[in-house]
Structure formats: structure tokens, C-alpha cells
Symmetry: C2
Subunit: 310 residues, 2 copies
């Protein structure tokens, strides 16, 4: 029977550590006003985005990060959005910014090139092409790691109590999106795992999974990965967020992961639940990225050489 990896508990610890770290910096008289600043840019008024953003604002405030919500109308053009990003790039009070996706917009906007416009040092979602390139090449020092992959790795490290747990181990990542699967595969590989990346064209998904010492699933397919796909004792990290309509208690909706938790927990060594696994880690890592960048940009300004300033 697997040990449960509580993303709720571990993310709480991370947020507590962030708060303590900020307090510690502020305790020095010369940094008494140290307040990391995070900007969340929203285009439109999607209700799911509103919920996510409200949660990010609340969690940021709790740890002592000043988060500002910049809500632009759906009529915003690409030029206007980029002008907003330029303004935030130039704003010394802002240490990180994210563009809440998907955009709700009436004009054609290329969100990838909008995101590429973010100053590399302020890209706390780690989603610019340059950050993706740095991560792909293993330049971990100079890279801002995307939040969900960073959360996945952290859960493995914390659950096993071994920072180097994945080194030399076999990691299988299912999914290759630019937000979760691809950066997760790169991150684990550069922590020296032998890494396989699977996707919708993979022929023998079950056989690939059975080899995994650590299995990271990010496909958005409810309950796809079964217990008999899992190597006994493996660490199973389930990123999936799927809603089964009317299948919860009293006919309510039920949230499930990409892994069939009930059968998987009988075989795995460690497993994340959904909800309460990877989900809460994503925000915690966003806050951690913001603090890290604030520290680098404000307190260690001399490391500028690692970054290509344009």
C-alpha cells in the first residue's frame, strides 16, 4: 500500500518557508522594505481564470509577496498587451509576471510571442522560449523552472527524503506539453534520471510505464493509468485534473487525476492524490520562483552576467 504524498502539506511547508525567508531578509535594516512583486495579467473574464487568479493573489499575500492583478478587456490587441508587458519589464517593483492562459480575446493574439516578450528574469512561469531552451540544455542555474514540473520534482524529493532520488533511476513522463510534460522530462533528465517521454503516439504505453521507478503523468485523461501499469514500489506523480460530471457524492461533480488512484495505490510505493497532490504545488512554486527572482535581481544584482540582457 503506497504512502500518500500530500501536496497540501508539502505546499504549505513551502509557503511557510517562503514567508520565513522574506521575514528574514526584512529583518536586515537595509532590506526592511523587501517585498517581492508579482503581476498577474489577465485578458478577458473567464470564470475559471478568475478563480485561479483569486487563489494566487491570496496565497501571495499570505507569504508577503505583493501581487497585482492586471485585468485587460477582451478587446485588448497584441500591441497593447505587449506594451503592458514592456511597462512591467521596466517596473522595478515587479520581480515576476505571468500571463494567465487561456486568453479570452476578440483580437488575434499570439500568446507565445507575447510571453517571449517578458524579461527572462521576470518569467516566473518559466514559459518563454529562452527559458525552455536553457532547461532543455541543462542550464539549471540560469533557468526559471516551470511551476508544475518544479512541483513534481519537489514532491519526489520530499516524499522520498532524498534530494538525489531520481539520479540514475528510470523516469517515465507521459505527456509532452510545453507547460508540464516537456519541461518535466527535461528537469528530471538533468537531475540525472534516464528519462523516457511518452505521448499519444506511444505504442506500448503500459510496458513503458511498467519500467518507471518514477512515473509522471500529465495527459488530461481521467483514470487512464491503472494499477497493473505500475512497477511495484514506484513513485507515482499525477498531474491530471479531470472533472467527472455528476459522479461525486450526491450527484455532484468529482475531480480525478490521470491515474486510477484506487488500483494504483495498491502497487506504488508513493503516490499523489487528486485533488491535493500536484495541484497546490503549482502555486507554491510560482511564489518560490517569484521570491528567487526578487532575491537574484535585488540582492545579488552582480550575477547579472548569467543573464543575457537585451
Amino acid at each position: 500500500m503506497a504512502k500518500l504524498i500530500s501536496g497540501n502539506d508539502i505546499s504549505k511547508e513551502v509557503r511557510d518557508e517562503i514567508k520565513a525567508e522574506i521575514d528574514k531578509i526584512r529583518a536586515k535594516p537595509e532590506h526592511a522594505d523587501f517585498t517581492p512583486g508579482l503581476a498577474i495579467i489577465q485578458v478577458g473574464d473567464r470564470s475559471d481564470s478568475n478563480v485561479y487568479i483569486r487563489n494566487k493573489l491570496k496565497k501571495a499575500e499570505e507569504v508577503g509577496i505583493r501581487a497585482v492583478h492586471i485585468k485587460l478587456p477582451p478587446s485588448t490587441t497584441q500591441d497593447q498587451l505587449e506594451a503592458e508587458i514592456d511597462r512591467l519589464n521596466a517596473d522595478d517593483a515587479i520581480d515576476g509576471m505571468i500571463v494567465q492562459l487561456p486568453l479570452e480575446t476578440t483580437s488575434p493574439i499570439d500568446s507565445d510571442s507575447v510571453i517571449d516578450r517578458i524579461d527572462q528574469r521576470k518569467d516566473v512561469d518559466g514559459l518563454t522560449r529562452e527559458n525552455a531552451g536553457r532547461l532543455a540544455r541543462g542550464e539549471l542555474e540560469g533557468t526559471i523552472i516551470p511551476c508544475t514540473p518544479r512541483g513534481c520534482l519537489y514532491l519526489v524529493q520530499k516524499a522520498t527524503g532524498d534530494e538525489n532520488y531520481v539520479r540514475g533511476k528510470k523516469v517515465v513522463v507521459i505527456g509532452r506539453s510545453k507547460i508540464v510534460g516537456s519541461p518535466a522530462a527535461a528537469l528530471f533528465m538533468w537531475h540525472h534520471a534516464t528519462t523516457t517521454i511518452c505521448h499519444s503516439r506511444t505504442a506500448n504505453l503500459k510496458e513503458e510505464c511498467l519500467q518507471a521507478d518514477v512515473l509522471v503523468v500529465a495527459i488530461g485523461q481521467a483514470l487512464k493509468v491503472k494499477g497493473d501499469w505500475i512497477k511495484p514500489g514506484a513513485v507515482v506523480i499525477d498531474c491530471g485534473i479531470n472533472v467527472l460530471e455528476n459522479e461525486g457524492a450526491n450527484g455532484k461533480n468529482k475531480m480525478v487525476g490521470d491515474v486510477d488512484f484506487e488500483s494504483a495505490k495498491e502497487v506504488a510505493g508513493f503516490i499523489t492524490p487528486v485533488p491535493g497532490g500536484v495541484g497546490p504545488m503549482t502555486i507554491a512554486m510560482l511564489l518560490k520562483n517569484t521570491l528567487d527572482q526578487a532575491r537574484k535581481r535585488r540582492l545579488e544584482a552582480s550575477t547579472g552576467g548569467r543573464w543575457s540582457l537585451r
Copy 2:
């Protein structure tokens, strides 16, 4: 007994096609003076670099690409080198440029940030971080693919006669350098292979290799991969270039790959020799990248939107 994949023959075909393509473009009166331009920047006077560059200049000229060799003294500073790149970025006659590595220099130069300074559209080695990021995310249309990985994939496609050969197949890449292993793994994965990347920390290298339908080896370890590491019928692509001193005929040096060709050819379905396998493909793909970028920049100028111009 494996079929031999002749990089000599296939690279010759590619170069002939490039020449024919350039001639065809020039046959149109409005493009009569179409001449792709390639700049090769060298710092210092390493004799191996001199040989490689001479070969590139010669092969470029043969196909109708105008290649210029810009040789800077070892005393060149990073600022001076970047100024040279800026000049070439602005030079409309130049469609592609490469920095010959390693630099031979007496001043501290960060070659990664020098390369990042190359206009993305002129980065025909595909070695900027932005191109690495595009490739990692599968934006194959907008990416310049690094030459050696592009050559590896092309050899598989040509040898098997199937452009989609790797789709759904298991590909194992050994090596994770930014020039060969990492981009090769990304390239094969985005051609829809299930891809495993191995490196010096991989625990069971032989077992990983035995699963490969296509095995790409880029480790720089003479004769490391043996016949009994190979799945019968697999396609084996050997990028290695290793010199065994005094082990050739008459005590001369002998060039060998990372694969033990003699035992591997008994098991593999297809195999590249060394020399005459991957090696000659690298230059052919450099010329192809140069032609592709010249065509995009000069003849299809309206596609500019795909590129983030800075």
C-alpha cells in the same frame, strides 16, 4: 547482416538537391542573382578548425552558396566578437552564420551568449537558446534544426525509405549534449517516437539500448556499444568520431565510432559506418539550413510573423 547507410552517398544527394534547387530559383529572371550567403566566424587558428572550415567553404561553393570565412585573432574580445555578429545580422547578403567551436581565445568569452546574439533567422547551426527552446517545444516549423541531429533523422528516413519511420517507434539516444544528443532526442520525439535519453549516469545502458528500434549514439567513447546491446533489426546511427592512435593500417591512426561496428552490423537492420556515416551529413545539413533560411528570408519575406524580431 545490416544494410550499410552511406552518409557519403546520401549527403552527396542532399548537396546535389541543394544545387539543383538554387539553380531552379536562379532560372527565374527576378531571382537570377539569388545566392545564399553563409558566414563562418573563427576566433584563433586551431588546425582542426581550419580543416573543418576549409571543407565547409569548398562544399558551399560547389552548391552555389557564397561562404565567407571571417578569421579573428585570439585576442578578440567578447565585445568585438559580438560587434562582428551584429554587423552580419545587419548584412542583407548573409543568410546564415556559424561560430566555429571551440574558440581559441586569450580573453574570456561566453560562447553561449555570443551565439545567442545571432539573429534567430540566421542561426543555421540551430544553437541559440531560442532555437533550442522552439525545438524542445516541438515548434518544428519555426525552428532551425541543429545540423548533426537533422542529419541523423534524415539518414533514418532515407535508409528505411519512410519519412515517418520513427513515429510510434522506440528511439534511444545516448548522449545529451546541446549540439547532438539533446536536440536529437527532441527531434525524434517530435517526429512522434517514444524517446529515451541516456547519459553517463544511466544505470542499465545495455538494457535501454536493447529496447531501441532506432539507436542514436553520441557519446565520444570508442566502440562502446556492442552487438549484443542491439535489438535485431534496429537502425543504428553512430555519431561518434574517435581516433585510435597507431591502430590503423601500418600503425597509422584509425577513426572509429561509438559503436563497435564489427559486432553491431551482425545484429542491426541498418547501420552507419564511421567514417562516412553521420559525419558528411553535418555539412550537408548546414548548407540545407542556409538555403532554407535564404529562401524564407528573401523569397517568403511575408512569413516574418513566425519569428520574433528584436
